[in-house]
Amino acid sequence: MDTVLDPFTGLDSFSSPYFDDDDFFTDHSSRDHLDTDDFLDEDVDFLTSQIQEYYKDSRIAQDGDYCDVGNFSFSSSSSTFSYGCADSTSELSPHRDGLLLKRRRRMRSETEMQQLRQAANVRERRRMQSINDAFEGLRSHIPTLPYEKRLSKVDTLRLAIGYINFLAELVQSDMPIRNPHSDTLNQPKKVIICHRGTRSPSPNDPDYGLPPLAGHSLSWTDEKQLKDQNIIRTAKVWTPEDPRKLHLKSSINNIENEPPFNCIS
């Protein structure tokens, strides 16, 4: 994704809704509060991951749980991030000026602005906390290597996708886990018999800890057919002698007749 490599262009395109939204700076919205929150969530979430990704890669290993957009906006020297500050309009791209001018018409007091800022920060923190909790939940379901550090959010998502695919394939193919390329596909329809009567495994069992058997698949062979094929495969060649060459005795050569045979069973 280009936006990951260049968070600034990403911001340009995705931050515009905030400035379009007239009710952004007020808690007494005429619109449904939840709707607005949801709307914001999507965009902020996306931004967060991008910003995190960017900072993680380029700067220091940031602890994802405690960094939110609010922190970034205040710690960053670049005013581009400080979308919450209405005064930093000078560095924004010109096309947004008209919108901001419109907003300026509704002048608010300094304390009013601080209250709004605090309320927005609280909301944002709560929102991030819920996302982080959900990530923690997802993380706990993903198998990791024993020495692996705690997964970052992006790795959590990436591994989750891989793991779901893996499970889906496992269910679909119904293959033995250990040897996925076994020759069990030879029989057209596999009939599996499950055990009757079950009991819980105990540590004394010889196979405790091994995955339990799903059952036994049933098959048969015709030994006569196998024997016939085997006779052809391991045939010893007996060559008759040519009476004109008496010194050449007829002999048995132990030749494995493998490829030249066209076995039809």
């Binding site: 990436r158 591994l159 893996f166 339990p212 698949s217 049933l218 048969w220 062979t221 039809i264």
Partner: protein
Amino acid sequence: MQDQRKGDRETGLATVDSAEASHLYTSDACFTHLREEQNFSLLQKVTRDSVRQYLQFRPDQSVIILHAKVAQKSYGNEKRFFCPPPCVYLAGHGWKLRQEQLKASGLGESSCQLFGYMGLDSSTDPRTDSFKLSFEEQTDKRMFACAKTLYISDTDKRKHFRLLLHLFHSGGQEIGTFNSRLIKVISKPSQKRQSMKNADLCISSGSKVSLFNRLRSQTVSTRYLAVEDGAFVASARQWTAFTVTLVEEMHAVHSEYSMCDSYICYGCVVQLVCTDSGVALPPMVIRKVNKQHACLDVDEPVSQLHKCAFQFRDSNHMYLCLSNEKIIQFQASPCPKESHKVLLNDGSCWTIIGTEVVEYTFSESLAGHPTTISPVPMINGLELNGGGHVAMLELHGENFSPHLKVWFGDMEAETMFRSSRSLLSVVPDVSILSGEWRWMRQPITVPLSLIRFDGLIYRSSYSFTYTPEHSAPFQANVTAERTADSDSLIDTIHQEFTRMNFHLFMQS
């Protein structure tokens, strides 16, 4: 639990009144002697232990019938004896054991011998219009006999028939009646180019054939290609069935004859492998013979009773040839007038004919008294159905009766008689065959047999395999006692995922 059931049956039989008990056997004529003797001890003999003992030593008795697939009709007074002559082998150490058993039970030495009659299935009395077979023991301990003078008259209008073998103890006690496969009646070998549509006259790759050589069409001079003590011979007495197979390399050269994939055509490279010993002749090109000449340019399908010659591949016209009882190579001389023909001698012209081998195997080791073996049930195919908690194995074949039970190894399966061509059995749980199923992490293979009520065992060539399945089908039945199982299962999946997706972890 199974033993419990067995016990129930025994006590049940002991208390049942004789009228009801005898009713069990009246349905089948071959059980009449059992009813006369009212001997219930016979039934008690078939236990898991006794079957296990049988499986360990396998004292089987086999009746093997070899015969040609086609027979030439005899017109008027002529008698065209079937060639090669149908022959019978009695194999397996069960015959000797049975003989000793009978001797021990007080029968004289002579009455323990065997003899038989072989005739057409149309014959009314086997003892008058059949060939009497007297068996002789060979060096390989098998008993051998062959019916040299059988023929089919043109008054018999059938297109197919069977041979019947009646086997007896010298005392006159019948062992049983055994059928050959169907034999096609032909008037004379086809002279026309054989069409592939005429499948039963063509010779397919992988089928069995016999080759014989007849000087000046004299029956007495007939010699059969045979294998004795690992060497090819031209025997006047015995013949061998060979598996004829196409050698693949030839397909590249004759790629336009894709039909050669299944049927043997002249010009193809074939190999003859002895069905008994596995000894083979080197790859040879099969050539059509016309008036003692091998035709090098003929590519039509080989047909029954055609005269043919076998040129050793890559040789300078060396041909398979007999010289008295020996098999040698013969140098054919080129034809001065025709470049696509070579001149052969008498010994290098062979007649080819498709053959069948039928084998009946049984064991009387658990059957106390002499009984009639036939009709011998034959299994031709199996079919599995069900799965989950109950799997059913259907047996397709011939000569099934309600007196038969299917046995998986030493375990009797619940068996339902559907018809003389179909039996249905419940596949026994693997835990019954070998301890607790959960520990069965190696495949288990058991032989399939049919055992008659009186203890007669019919061994089949089939074996049945239980293969452990490690992948759970992710069933939703998560009961309380299964949670431990699913935990360890999830662990395994986790391990497998991290092992297979190591690259995902390396990225971050």
